[in-house]
Symmetry: C2
Amino acid sequence: MARKPADQSVDREDILWAAAEVLHRNGYEATTMKDIAAQVNLTAASLYHHFKNKDFLLLSVLEVGLDLTIDKLEVIESSDLTCAEKLGGMIRSHVVSVTGNVAVGAAMVFEIRALLNANVGGKNGDGAFNSEFATRRKRFFARRDYFEGLFRNTVQAGIAAGEFRQVDAAIVTRAMLGAHNWVGVWFREGGRLSGAEVADVMVDTWLAALRV
Amino acid sequence: MARKPADQSVDREDILWAAAEVLHRNGYEATTMKDIAAQVNLTAASLYHHFKNKDFLLLSVLEVGLDLTIDKLEVIESSDLTCAEKLGGMIRSHVVSVTGNVAVGAAMVFEIRALLNANVGGKNGDGAFNSEFATRRKRFFARRDYFEGLFRNTVQAGIAAGEFRQVDAAIVTRAMLGAHNWVGVWFREGGRLSGAEVADVMVDTWLAALRV
DNA sequence: TCTATAATCGAACCGCTATTTGATTTCCTT
DNA sequence: AAGGAAATCAAATAGCGGTTCGATTATAGA
């Protein structure tokens, strides 16, 4: 009794982007599987062929977003630029990422709380799921710390090298990331500035804040 | 068939703080009326004597948080300090507010999307509710813009007065507010720094970023 | 003390949402 | 062409959550 399998041209990737978009718009809890499915012309039931359940889908979105961002940062970190040049590059890269894919950027920021609450309280004591989920979630948060560390270490190194003035690197780094994350909230394609231009302002601002 | 009306010592105010706290922990959609009620030893049904419904409760939390913050800022704005002094005071005030009541601070930031989605799509065409809600929501967003304007105008004035270097005031202001908002996410009472100390770092950072 | 009003509760209602299941269709490989 | 695997769907399930309702208790004023 199935009807219009139609396209059958939707893959895991498509669903991930669609989910990121809806998540950005509505937030995890307010996002229904139906919403996500509709975005790719599927029914909610079909999503379960691609993802174990809603929590895994969210986790996958976050993983992809974080991986993409980290990959670019690592290239910069392992270059032989000065700390100021490195930090500038990292800021630009991060902000461009956020403006380039607002959905993923915002999901990264706002849905992490949902990830924390997810799959605890053990509604389904389903060992297999919970175990894999717990592992991947833990790894995600570890990577998130690593991500923050990339920025913080660069700030710290710059201070040590005398390129930056003495500041509380941990706090300043978080201030920086907060500013970047917030971009995902207000940035709109087609506004006064492009993503790259916003990124330039950010680079300028933070290097000014740190200049000795 | 009612049982233990017990205390009867809970007022609207108590519920607001409780709601802010739960909201901060779980987010609007993941927060149930039962959760909020439990926080003040009530049942979900009882909340409806104090608030029309869940959306109004959220809105009230946001209104209170914003009002408190704006009140303090206005005092500073109408003083006769230099722009740098004003901006420093405003930053300190805002950050202290956020660290002092993380719940309200975070709710202000993270639950605004919920407010946007709330009460639209007209499940209940209930004219009275929807109309009052729409009005108050609109006013809330207007005040939110006003709040941002307080900072932006001070930055702008500082540039005009030659106290600050030439920057894109709109973007820098948003960067600033993003940094402050983010504090509500990571700050924990009893950590390495107090709220006031974090605020000091912020003031130092932003004045450094703007110094000519 | 008596009474009106406020605050509270338990229970029930209803809609919505994640998820499962079993059939059906499409697609790839041979 | 044929068969199996993959993708999709409709329908059903189960439970949760906001909200309403009527009854009960507390409280403040006359």
